[in-house]
Symmetry: C2
Subunit: 383 residues, 2 copies
Amino acid sequence: MSEDIYVVGVDMIKFGRFPEQSVPQIASKAALGALDDCGLGIQDMQALYCGNLYQASAMVGQRLLQEIGQTGIPVVNVANACATGATAFREAWTSVKAGLYDLVLAVGVEQMGKGLLGGGAQKTGIPKEGLLGSGTMPAVFAEAGVEHARKYGTTFEQFAKVSVKNHHHSTMNPKAMYQIETPLETVMNAEMISWPNTKLMCSVNVDGSAAAVLATGTKVRQLGLMSRAVKVRASALTSDAWQERDLVMPDVNTCTRAAAATAYEMAGLGPEDIDLVELHDCFATAEILHYENLGLCKDGEAGKLIDEGQVALGGRIPVNVSGGLLSKGHPLGATGIANIYEVSTHLRGEAGARQVENARIGLTHVIGLGSACGIHILEKEAA
Amino acid sequence: MSEDIYVVGVDMIKFGRFPEQSVPQIASKAALGALDDCGLGIQDMQALYCGNLYQASAMVGQRLLQEIGQTGIPVVNVANACATGATAFREAWTSVKAGLYDLVLAVGVEQMGKGLLGGGAQKTGIPKEGLLGSGTMPAVFAEAGVEHARKYGTTFEQFAKVSVKNHHHSTMNPKAMYQIETPLETVMNAEMISWPNTKLMCSVNVDGSAAAVLATGTKVRQLGLMSRAVKVRASALTSDAWQERDLVMPDVNTCTRAAAATAYEMAGLGPEDIDLVELHDCFATAEILHYENLGLCKDGEAGKLIDEGQVALGGRIPVNVSGGLLSKGHPLGATGIANIYEVSTHLRGEAGARQVENARIGLTHVIGLGSACGIHILEKEAA
């Protein structure tokens, strides 16, 4: 149990729209990429944990093996709304921690459609009143933003600056869906979806996949892979505790605060130790709230954080240097591993133009409707 | 890692048809039953692993907590065809083995419809050619039976006797869908679905749920629950290795043989040590094949096993004393935990009229299309 667990291989595909491909085909590219990243093959993997939301009943993991090699290994298919990828990664990590395996593959994949939540949400079977009734997802995160504005005076411009920042970051990320500078006036003048979030302050529906190979420290050393290996310092998963609202409408804050507390405790670290964060900016308002939920600043100071550029590349604690869900894109089941790819890439010093200097410890965060919050803390140890 | 893990609470509902209930409502009854079985409440559980196939995208675990108590614990939703329940149980077991928790809840649930695979299969997104094209599930298991007959001379009557046995067993199981003696001529003269399986040799579409509470040995002793606790000696999960047929059409034998080998090795036991078996009799032909796949007899001797009554209650190695999928019923996502309920009940000596005398070690087996095979070996230690 005391053995450390590492990410030794990790990859994501350039997010986009691939209607002509099957979900397993989309998944296969990231899976092979992660294996290639550490010089291993599917025959070296002892188990597969596969996260996909919209085809969660359809044995995506096994069909992925049909694409990349059927070796007879255990396959576990998981689904947890927008935390699906993080949950697949966590189950993979758990299996290694349990001593069952020393090399496992975690894959997250999603093929979205067009429309609200890619049109796929209607297929999930989540009761419609929660998803499409009085509280749509845009409305929930709009409401939470308005509440933040009411309490702390956060302005429309501050919310909009989140989108400007993340779009700017994405110009340096060749795997982001968009690489377009998006000035403040463009963001603020875009079509209003649900105040204060304009269309450019909502995450981008894209298809995508991401994958990670996890290994025990013993195995990493044995394979000579420690120089690029990234240690998993913490894995936390929570659901919403009881509240006076529909379960299907997540409290935007509580389960993130609970997961953050668990993750920081498990890692023996605090927010002040984190060098970069990839958090769940499904809407610009959400990013503002999560600065506080993750302890990156005190409650009420999120507006100041964005105003002062503290969360931009080069700032005190860069957030969503990948471009985030707002510009990199948000393929639901892939997102929780894509952000592990991003943080790992920085910790390895391989992030190119968007590299966070001297990044040693990073945090990833996702939150899913109805509800699941997953947080991982990763560390690159000194050589 | 060396700490043993136990089932301390376990339950299933009487299988039936509950179209007026939601999936979480169906799940809640078994979940509360398993908690009640060990005198604990949902507030004592540290995580929930929920298995459901047809609503795998729909956050069934979190919605179950809405029914029985939202405590903010991690929820993982898993799907693995007919091995869904076994996979949820295995992930729960893995989390305890990893040292993350010492008390967790595993739940399996399914609401079937009418028609082939309850009509729900069309909703799963599994490519249609595999499920409804040239090789339907009845055809696959019929073909495998015919192949067995060709190789070993297994007769129509021998296949039919499996159904007679399991229906007889179910007359002693108040939680089975049916409790009706079904004579050989009735089975053989029923509508032919796909030779040699008549309608009474195909599993019964029902709604159902089952649940188990898992705990570390330390926790079991601390709670004073050891007298009825059942030790998990082995958990194995496999997928089909490569073969010259569609992945979506499982090889009926290979992944079971691989899982059995893994499970026996993990337990340090062999088939000769097993006192009762609940195996995946989705069709009567399947049960015959699995006698051999699980090592209950030598290859080619399955027909003899059923002829001699060795697998009936009172025989050498009773199989599907619950009535099996053929008469108890087969709610896909629940089945893998329902068979753990059945074996645990015998190991505790609480199985009433169908009690397998002096049962100390039992094996559960499920196999799912496309493919996943899950095997668990359970033991009741001497007081």
